[in-house]
């Protein structure tokens, strides 16, 4: 009897070990498309400064607020560093959160929907290229690929807003998000191989020799403009050189903490040294974290501070350290004397 039970148990064990090939076919309801996001923005010149008014939200809700937005832009009258405007009916002012240390002059909820579009007003103390801003909005707010100068013409209209001209931008897209970011080919022509998007720095104040294999992508405008970005491709993972110009060095501890934070959360090995370069003295830092590393060179100039930073996977940065040092040595400043 017990032997029979044993044989039965063995049979059941063996029966549980079968496997199918796993190929399957089934039907599923079609996915419900996510509502598109629409962005309407107006850029008004104000002497050396610029005012940006932006309305961003669900496409249908933005459409419902378009007239109110146009009226708001027309009502905007700069007065020095401030401005006056008339808030449309149904708009409610809310707190403007600071992002990267920059705060909007005002933020409004446009309408009373559960997730209403947000209207924001910014003043920026210097002019920046419209194409860069449009491309930043396309990537960050709409989940779209970059435009070139020709493409820009299709989304911008110059309209009289009060007594001045305003550049109105109107675009729609699927919105930012992880799933959409996974497709590197949105909007690309797959018939021709993609060329790296080369660009120019924001100004000619600094010059340098870009090492072979690196590609200068050019300047990026924004609240903190980047003078130039240089791509450093490598098998071990791409790194990037960023050149930034600031009015002052700022709080040293805060800067060091931020750079340490960029390379890891754990212990970060920090080396500091002073370089005597053809372009003058510079302070250099080497931050080695968990898997990431950065090399930073800081040039103190009479009128500004220049930061040159190589950031990327440790292996890539180690491989390109010599090239980075040659790059830093090659830096020249316009009109500078030793």
């Amino acid at each position: 009897m017990r032997r029979n039970l044993f044989l039965l148990a063995c049979f059941l064990l063996a029966a549980g070990c079968g496997d199918s090939d796993g190929i399957d076919r089934y039907s599923v309801p079609k996915p419900v498309p996510r509502p598109y996001v629409r962005l309407v923005a107006a850029v008004l010149d104000d002497g050396p400064a610029q005012w940006y008014v932006k309305l961003l939200g669900r496409e249908d809700l933005v459409a419902a607020q378009r007239e109110a937005f146009d009226a708001f832009v027309k009502s905007l009258k700069p007065k020095g560093e401030k401005a006056e405007w008339t808030v449309p009916a149904g708009w409610k002012e809310v707190a403007s959160p600071a992002k990267d240390g920059i705060k909007a002059e005002a933020t409004f909820k446009a309408g009373d929907a559960a997730q209403p579009p947000l209207a924001t007003v910014f003043r920026f103390g210097m002019k920046s290229p419209l194409l860069d801003n449009v491309n930043r909005w396309r990537r960050k707010d709409l989940g779209l690929s970059f435009l070139d100068e020709d493409g820009l013409k299709g989304v911008v209209q110059t309209v009289k807003a009060g007594d001045r001209d305003a550049a109105f931008v109107d675009m729609r897209g699927p919105g930012p998000g992880r799933a959409r970011a996974a497709d590197p080919h949105a909007g690309m022509d797959l018939k021709k191989p993609p060329a790296p998007r080369k660009g120019k720095p924001l100004s000619d104040e600094m010059s340098y020799a870009v090492p072979a294999g690196w590609t200068e992508l050019g300047g990026r405008s924004g609240f903190v403009p980047t003078h130039s970005v240089i791509a450093v491709p490598d098998e071990a993972g791409a790194a990037e050189v960023k050149i930034t110009k600031m009015a002052a060095f700022g709080d040293e501890k805060a800067n060091l903490d931020r750079w340490r934070g960029e390379v890891g959360r754990g212990e970060v090995k920090t080396d500091r040294s002073t370089l005597d370069l053809p372009s003058g003295k510079a302070v250099s830092f080497d931050f080695a974290g968990d898997g990431k590393r950065s090399l930073v060179a800081v040039f103190q100039r009479p009128d500004a501070v220049w930061f040159v930073k190589l950031l990327g996977p440790s292996a890539t940065v180690a491989k390109h350290k010599d090239a980075f040092e040659s790059f830093v040595k090659s830096v020249q400043f316009k009109g500078a004397k030793r």
Binding site: R3, A9, G22, D24, P29, K140, M188, G237
Partner: protein
Amino acid sequence: MSITADPPLAPASAGGPTPGRKQKPGPLWQCLQAAASLRLTVVLFVLSFILVFLGTLAQIDYGIGTVTKGYFRSWVVFIPFQVFVQFLQKFFDLHPSWRVPGSFPFPAGLTLGFLLTINLLAAHAIRFKLSWRRSGIIVLHAGLLLLLAAEFITYAWAVEGKMVIEEDQSSNVVFHSSGMELAIVDPSGKEDEVAVVPARLMRPGKTIRDERLPFDLKVEEWYANHRTRAAEEGEKNLADQGFGRTEIAVRTKEVSGVASDQRPDYPALYATLLDKVTGKEMGTWLFSSRWKPQEVAVGGKKHQVSLRFKETRRPFTLTLLKFSFDRYPLTNKAYNFSSLVRLQDPGLGIDEEILIRMNEPLRHRGETFFQADWITEETDEFGNKKGKEIGTVLQVVRNPGWTLPYISCVVVSLGMLAHFGIVLADFLRKRGA
């Protein structure tokens, strides 16, 4: 643990010797005796210890999923000699340049579990007597069998996945990062027709033919983890169709089981598609699990083809009403994550709002939905979250055998208590006498 065994029972029926007469045991009886051997038990235990040690070493190079599958949920595993070198490099300062090629076969978890079960069952079939004096041992062994059964149930029926929902969106789809599949979607009808091929069939050189697929598939290359880069002009490229014409997949190391950042592996597949009727090649494609579906036209029909995490669907939907990420004041440190969801299950007549928080999961239809992660507007080049939170990630877990390890521990403990209690009582009785 020592196992006390009685002398083998004298077999009473065919195959065994008849009492009083010396007779050679039959082949079945001999097999049973061999299977019930205590020596075999010891050997199997030692092999199990070694397997656990080797499986731990393997996580230097491989992810926990790969090791679990390869070492513990397979019949045979090929152990690379290099793991021993790595062990010596780590603990005994062997030079890091040492490399030893090759591997050797070793019985994996399924083999050892199966043999241990057979060994235990056979021992009870021929050696152990049913008696009150042995009741502790029998209960203890029942607990061990329950533990083995629990692992088998987890292997066969446990489900683990993730549900990703953006705010104001609904979902009934669970993604399983432990399994990938090539999904071929025909969107031409009222509903999407989906055919899936699991990743375990993707062996380089193998041609997959199945009537449920709109085309046959010859696997050229399979990368367990990869990244992509732009193809340079004139560079040799396996793919001549789709996104792969401009992008090259580069094989990368799997995320190690001991890495501090446990991100999933992203596989890639180079496959040549073949016409089902003519057998003619339709070109070679690169399917990256980091990409959206690519369009493949077959017989005038356009199919969306992608390599994706295995998807399963539930008969109910969760709608994310609000995701909240509370931080300690004036810091960026997380205080609490929560998802306010609407659960709609027409089959059970449920339509209600539920708050899922850390340590307060939703339990529904035998599955548990834990608050696990969140998604943001974008990620930087290193995959770190950037920008506003726009959705939630719920960990979905179902394990019908999750209580069994606890029960088996209790049963084993009771068995040991009973056995030692009986032995102690015998000892005291004999001493008293």
